[in-house]
Symmetry: C2
Subunit: 669 residues, 2 copies
């Protein structure tokens, strides 16, 4: 028996997120079609359903036909006879709270697995652990003997999904909730309104969805369905209705809310818009009281996110009415006046939220020492904001560093810790109010089709950051486990891999898919900024081209970079050459495909860049293999060409450029 603490645990525990403690035993518990689950202690329909889902996933993973799914769990006459016995002590709260115990203990011996948890939340997490532990070897499927004591490092582990910029159908929400459950995330932050669309049915103020959604909104019934789906999986849902900015879609429906009611329209592009609610107008507060009252009943979570970000203040500065209001209320003028009136707005909003029994949550901008300490600050600015808030006693969560639309590498997100940087200097007491973090899937450049690949599997690395001990930080181990969890996500129904393949095939049109795939496999999606700089995207513009198809991080590029590190090994060198030749020769194969598929228009520069860098790579490899050093002049020219190739092209990055830069560097030394 060996007590493994991170990072030694990496090699053996195929789990993501890694548990707080893993102690391997000897032998393993076979998993066959006789696998069964029994309860011994508290039991509820939610747990029965979770076991049914778990058995179905186990079938998908193993290809075994296990009992009758639900029946396998429920017909087990005695818990003691079951392969997996679940001891749950008591019910969890009727509305899941951020303070609830999510711990569990899992003990697996060659005879039996036992999952113990104080309440169903721990059971749900433990069932995911059991599924991930199932592995195959020459003897068949089995779960290794192990004792796991596990609990999250942070209580708030969320994913924001923006359904305003692009509407996401229910099945997309369900798939992503399933994915979140796989990696033990527990908050869906649902960004439900913005300039580009208001996405919830209001019965008291129905113009919101009628005039502000282009017919794309959820009914209250559908919202309740998703809330129930999330609760089934141990996930809270925090709704965000961003005010007073980001509200074009509201203002179209109710122009009386607007600071400037002229020229109101639903946002058809992206960016920060001027239209804004008028904080000097009592109608606004009466309206928000009605609206929040209704939404507070619909969404049971204790937190209610009011956004509060990116008010550019142009309309406030231009409004005589607001200037007069500021003067009358002894507020400063100019930019400071905008800050002051925004504070005033938030204080009025806070009173409304209190009346309806909610805690306020908002972005950095709402921070104001006069607000009560139980409001929560979500920081898109970084640990500095968070530390400031924490020192004042404000609850906070970190999102800076976890923006999935920035298309960073999983390792980059993984390296961001809510309690690092400025937060590292907080006292232990101050650190307690840093509740965790949230990844953000902003919706400008995502469709129901490509959103899975934008969120997954990278979000698993972020989930691990929020759940596992801080010492769990080796990116190599993370990538290994991320590849495995990527399959688990697929068994759970996430479409990140299926849709990537289908989208590549669509790009190819009537041509062969291989050259498209060869390019796509090394291309990486351009960030929000890259997309915005390419042209002004419209909200209804199809997201079906190369930059929409390719994933944020190329696995091939990562494998290739690892090969380059071993270039002195002749085997590795041969593989490197194989790849480089493939990429060099791909251009000629891809050209005719590009010529006959409109979706590939604009792809030629990316293809040409790949060819160019592949040629450079071959030159460098030739030099390295021949043991000769590149002359300074061509080496400098090559360096410049590679630097140019490292820049975005065709709205993507050629992911193998850094490794080829490394190769060229070696060749010139």
């Amino acid at each position: 028996m060996a007590l493994l603490s991170p990072p030694a645990v990496y090699a053996e525990a195929n789990l993501m997120p890694l548990p707080s403690s893993v102690r391997f035993g000897t032998g393993s518990l076979p998993v066959t079609q006789k696998f069964s689950v029994g309860f011994d202690g508290f039991r509820e329909k939610r747990l029965d359903d979770a076991v049914t889902r778990m058995v179905r996933r186990l079938e998908r993973k193993t290809g075994l036909v296990i009992g009758n799914g639900r029946a396998a769990a429920l017909q087990s006459p005695q818990a003691a006879d079951s392969t997996l016995v679940i001891h749950c002590t008591r019910a969890s709260k009727p509305v899941q709270s951020v303070t609830e115990d999510e711990s569990y203990r899992l003990t697996v011996t060659p005879d039996r697995a036992t999952l113990t948890a104080p309440n169903p939340l721990g059971v749900l997490h433990g069932l995911e652990t059991v599924l991930q532990l199932v592995d195959i070897d020459a003897g068949g499927f089995a779960i290794p003997a192990v004792t796991i004591d596990d609990h999250p490092r942070f209580a708030w582990r969320g994913t924001l999904i923006d359904v305003s910029r692009h509407f996401m159908p229910l099945e997309t929400m369900r798939r992503n909730l399933d994915g979140m459950a796989v990696v033990k995330m527990n908050v869906l932050h649902w960004h439900l309104s913005d300039d580009q669309g208001f996405r919830v049915e209001s019965r008291v103020l129905p113009k919101l969805q009628q005039d502000g959604s282009d017919g794309r909104s959820y009914t209250q019934e559908q919202i309740r369905e998703i809330l129930a789906y999330a609760r089934e999986r141990g996930i809270r849902v925090v709704p965000e209705f961003d005010v007073p900015g980001h509200t074009s879609s509201w203002l179209v429906a109710y122009p009386k809310l607007a600071t400037d009611p002229s020229d109101l329209k639903i946002g058809r592009n992206f960016g920060v818009f001027d239209p804004c609610m008028d904080p000097s107008n009592e109608f606004v507060y009466a309206f928000l009281d009605q609206f929040i009252g209704e939404m507070a009943r619909l969404f049971p979570d204790e937190y209610f996110h009011i956004g509060g970000d990116e008010v550019n203040g142009k309309q406030w500065s231009a409004s005589k009415r607001i200037q007069a209001f500021e003067k009358a209320h002894k507020m400063p003028s100019g930019k400071e006046g905008n800050v002051a009136i925004h504070r005033y707005f938030n204080e009025r909003l806070l009173a409304i939220l209190k009346k309806h029994g909610k805690k306020m949550e908002g972005w950095d901008e709402i921070l104001n020492p006069d607000l009560p300490k139980d409001i929560a600050i979500q920081s898109w600015r970084g640990q500095k904001s968070l530390a400031e808030a924490a020192r004042q006693g404000f609850t906070g969560i970190l999102s800076s560093g976890y923006y999935l639309d920035h298309m960073d590498k999983a390792a980059a997100h993984y390296a961001v810790d809510p309690l690092a940087k400025e937060c590292a200097d907080l006292t232990a007491e101050q650190k307690k109010v840093v509740l965790g973090g949230e990844s953000c899937m902003w919706g400008e450049y995502v469709s129901p089709e490509n959103i899975d690949g934008r969120i997954w599997p990278r979000n698993a690395a972020i989930a691990e950051r929020f759940w596992s001990p801080a010492a769990v930080s080796d990116p190599n181990g993370m990538y290994q486990r991320m590849e495995r969890v990527s399959r688990e996500l697929e068994y759970a129904g996430v479409l990140h891999r299926v849709n990537y393949r289908l989208m590549c095939e669509r790009l190819a049109g009537n041509g062969p898919v291989e050259p498209v795939r060869t390019l796509a496999d090394v291309a990486e999606a351009g960030s929000l900024g890259v997309r915005a700089r390419s042209h002004k995207y419209a909200t209804d513009e199809p997201l079906n081209r190369l930059p929409d198809t390719v994933l944020p991080e190329s696995d091939v590029a990562r494998y290739f970079a690892a090969l380059v590190e071993r270039v002195k090994d002749p085997g590795a060198a041969a593989q490197i050459r194989h790849w480089l030749v493939l990429w060099r020769d791909n251009e000629a194969k891809l050209q005719p495909v590009i010529a006959q598929s409109a979706l590939l228009a604009g792809t030629a520069p990316a293809s040409q860049t790949l060819k160019d860098v592949a040629r450079i790579g071959i030159e460098a490899l030739d030099a390295i293999e021949a043991g000769r050093r590149m002359d300074a002049k061509p080496a400098a020219a090559i360096k410049a060409r590679l630097a140019a190739a490292a820049r975005p092209v065709s709205e993507v990055r050629i992911g193998v450029v850094p490794a080829i830069q490394a190769l060229a560097q070696m060749a010139s030394q």
Copy 2:
């Protein structure tokens, strides 16, 4: 404008099944996110839903976000403003009948598409045609200008799905109904009971599902859901309850039905079993009257399939009671007595079916000149049976030649014509009673996971045989179009390609998937016979090994065979060598993967065979390229080795053996 009649139409019409008449025009109708559908004429909820589904599929195919799906169709204020205008004359029958008109006419100009049909069945078929016609070129997505007049050659175009040997969940049934709709099939023959399980809830005789199904049966509510799902797609559902043989699952529940009530049990293996109902027992008829009465109300189709096949008669011959009954009824004795008492049984059954308003359908064995001519014979024996039946005036459909579990090539099924062979000699009048055919997906070796890949895309070739003019028969054109329709099937939700990939990954366990995939891509699933000869499979045995994973027909093998035909072309020869080297070297890569995955146990012989034949291929290619002729003795040895390699190994066929045989043949000439 060119009137294209088959086979000239192949190159231009990407449709499967090919329509009766296709006349291409000039230009094309662009398909953008503004695509809309309007009705002009008869309209019903079924058609609205069909349009919504069609728009969703179009979105999936193109990546465009089109209106609001349903809204796109229904909000169109004037049919005249729509991209696609649907003219439907009248409703179809409340219960879809085999005699209904399924024709439609589709006219596409650069301005508009018009779909005209006498009733909704034609509209449903026409919408599938529209979807298939959508194509991409350098200008974007578009539908070519075309006039299509289309109607089916045969009125009965079915697929049998056996859910007794392995139970298929509702979503599996739904997926396959979606697939059938894509290729205009119109009958689901639902094989609902057999020795291994009784799959429908009976409320009057509930022991049938309680004792006969191992807990795996459909509720009546679920049956109705599937019936509605099928009707929505223009598909009839003919239930089959196979009697008097193939009834172990019934007899377990109601032993009084049995000829020999000793040792009754649900079938746990496969084959023809002895247990059989007792035709001499009045209880049997009272029971069937009750049962058929209930099922006749549940299933609205005019036909009711009573099976009637494979009664081996052992128990009848051994039963003194039955011998006495035969004597008393002046029936012959011995084998002829069995035929006679089976006839007697069928006549009694026919009276019961008539009482409950149903036409009888059964397998060849029920054929009896004394039966009324409106019964339908489903022939598993071939066109000879069918022709005999037709000469006697019996309605018939062909299934011989369309058994999907035989794992034949699509081209082999495609070459079978219900009106060929003995049926070719029928008079025009006699031919009219040959209504069409059904493919059969018997369930011994299929799971909910691999059934999609067993049925699709081969079933599309069979669907074309039933729909398109007899002259449409070129296998090359068929394969080209089958590859395209395979994507359409995927857009419609069929999982033949997704599950193949997932199963290959599962086989690989923790090893690399590439060598598994290299073998799997050239391996072809062994037939029912191959599987049965390997060992006695149990009904609950996992179907997650190589023979379960690989598809019935290898695309790679087909491409390779085409290359071999062009071996004199140096480019083709280089590609041939590339493949052969890959296969030869795969063995070394696969061995360690086999060693660590229990699912690959037994795969080594297949891998070894692939290596061996690849080596032979390389030898042959060397000789061909060098322009030398292999000596007779080694050529003979090679011939023998290849003949051995052509036999099933590891329950699969190595699909590239025939092409390597051709190569070796060329090298020795």
